[in-house]
Subunit: 407 residues, 2 copies
Amino acid sequence: MVCEIITIGTEIIMGNTLNTNNFFLSKKLAELGIEVYFHTSVDDNPKRLKSVIKTAFNRSDIIITTGGLGPTKDDMTKEVISKVLDLDMQLDKDMELNIKNMFVNGNWTMSDNNQKQAFKPIGSTFIKNVIGTAPGIYIERDNKKIILLPGPPREMKLMFENSVIDLIKANFNIATTSINTVGIGESELESRLNKLDLDTKNTSVLTFAKEGTVEIKIISKNKDKNIIKNEIKNIKQILEKEFQDFIYGYDNVNLEDIIINLLIEKKIILGLCESITGGMISGKLTQVPGASKVFDRSIVTYSSSSKIEELGVKKETLMQYGSVSKETAYEMAKGLFERNNLDIALSITGLAGPGHDSSTKPIGLVYICIITKNFEKTFKYNFNGNRALIRKRSTIKALDEIRKIIK
Amino acid sequence: MVCEIITIGTEIIMGNTLNTNNFFLSKKLAELGIEVYFHTSVDDNPKRLKSVIKTAFNRSDIIITTGGLGPTKDDMTKEVISKVLDLDMQLDKDMELNIKNMFVNGNWTMSDNNQKQAFKPIGSTFIKNVIGTAPGIYIERDNKKIILLPGPPREMKLMFENSVIDLIKANFNIATTSINTVGIGESELESRLNKLDLDTKNTSVLTFAKEGTVEIKIISKNKDKNIIKNEIKNIKQILEKEFQDFIYGYDNVNLEDIIINLLIEKKIILGLCESITGGMISGKLTQVPGASKVFDRSIVTYSSSSKIEELGVKKETLMQYGSVSKETAYEMAKGLFERNNLDIALSITGLAGPGHDSSTKPIGLVYICIITKNFEKTFKYNFNGNRALIRKRSTIKALDEIRKIIK
């Protein structure tokens, strides 16, 4: 079964946008045991797109396209593929209504262009897009599968995970389990994995680093579902023993989901005061539905005066030790904890760079302080990387420290 | 003059390596005025590589390949292209000596495989590799240029800059300008663009949606640099008039960078109080180096009590109108403004869903209130989408309202 990925868009071909879609799709398809042999990208030009589609249809069994499903005149993937396959286009009344409703609910103006998105080739199926107006399309023809996905990576990825995997998986017995870890680097994790030597002829164990966390993925393929089940179970047990301190969840749950759900379950009220992360920890936690039940507030104190006024940090502490110090981190958390009705108060302060006044402290220096009724601890870290990376690592570390306190 | 980039390697096709070579080459070629129309990637398989090369030779005038020039058995780009073009391979004595010397000088052991790198198709020219053993190759055939570059990005980039640019230097020029907008959807923008009918035979105007903002890109090509300059200038003026309310910057600057730099320039101190966005606005603004000069604090009040305690919102207001109301938004901003030494106070409160107590208010309802010394205004919005999207749209909208106040 040969698969080809076609990414469509002038912005890719002009070198304005790095093509991450074919990287994502190749990785996911490899995990499913699908052999990708070709990537093709082409600009928004119907003639060239047509030739690319024809070539792909001649040599591949599964064709996945991304891009060109939007409402604008540049978007023509559906139309060109219909022509190549000699299929007429048909207005889908349900989809038209669906799109109209999205606009009515959003109080947006629907342009004539948007109606275009309700057309599909006769005999094809829409694939639901839960976060955008452009639905995907699934076509079966001459024993080949053609799957049209939107170009924006967020929409494409969600659609792939929600719908396309099932469409493709139909003919295989394959199972995967993911174990999600935090607080251990990918290379350390990988060398410990290699020593365990877990791969079998049915089953492989892979690692994927994602935003400060590492996913360990067990993939097993066999005709016999029981063999798959047993091998995954055994390997999972070994991994759980080896990496127990670092495991925060399974099957790609978010760290923030785990934390909010633990807080809700244990009826723990959390408050934050953030300096270096400037609201990022709070922003992540409040992404979880129901966060308002347990997440009380975050005081983002980006100026010295705000640390004094909002949290009662002493002026002398700031003068003597600086705003990035264990003393300031402690007074921030203490002030937050004493002034409010919280079960856990966490503070974070650090230097993200580039360039700063205090020449004696290194960029990447970060303090986190956690205070509860019967626990007080200040942690010190030295993170590597640029401003964005240091802030991201600080955010993940703070979330991990919260997780360890409440787990 | 049509150009095609072919990247060769199983690691790309399997999703192990992100393909940055075609991104780099497309960008550089666009700057040179070369029209890239196709990207193709293929695994290390001679049969498939052959078919890809044949297709490229039929449709493109310049073909640039990367990868498959190394000493191992997987490396076969040179050999396959020689076969497709029906050229014999010849040992180049100078190159053989050259490679031998590299090994002697480097105190490395030369394997038999390395001799392979001294072979080239008859009539072709080597391209010097100053940091690796694999030379590039330049072939001219049927008025077409075929350029073989090594896969490792460092070697490929250096070779491109040092030698390839001169080989393919174009006969015409190209220039691009981007105008970045916020507050207008891509489809509305595009229908207004269509009415303006700006495309000429030299110049095209394209749109790209990115995270709540839309980029308008003007691309102009001609032999005469003055024609390009004038056409871009004219079109830019028309676009600036048509979309003046929505333009926040040029050439893909970030909205948050624009805001922080405007605040610094005008010495304006900003404070926020966030509910629905939970720190996301603050998190974005503090990503900009130097933000601490003008960004004072953000009070993330996620509970009702925090709104009362931190901002002085009246309990009666919350009871009577609810936390998502123009009255609460106003009291949040007012409290923040009065309690602190700010030039601008912005509050935001809304319903991100899914599911909430107040059955009378729709998910997506968001209020923003801005207070300055001589200005008070509350804005109401109805956003569409899921929780993540509503929060993202709220964030972008708040940033846009700040921009409009200070611009």
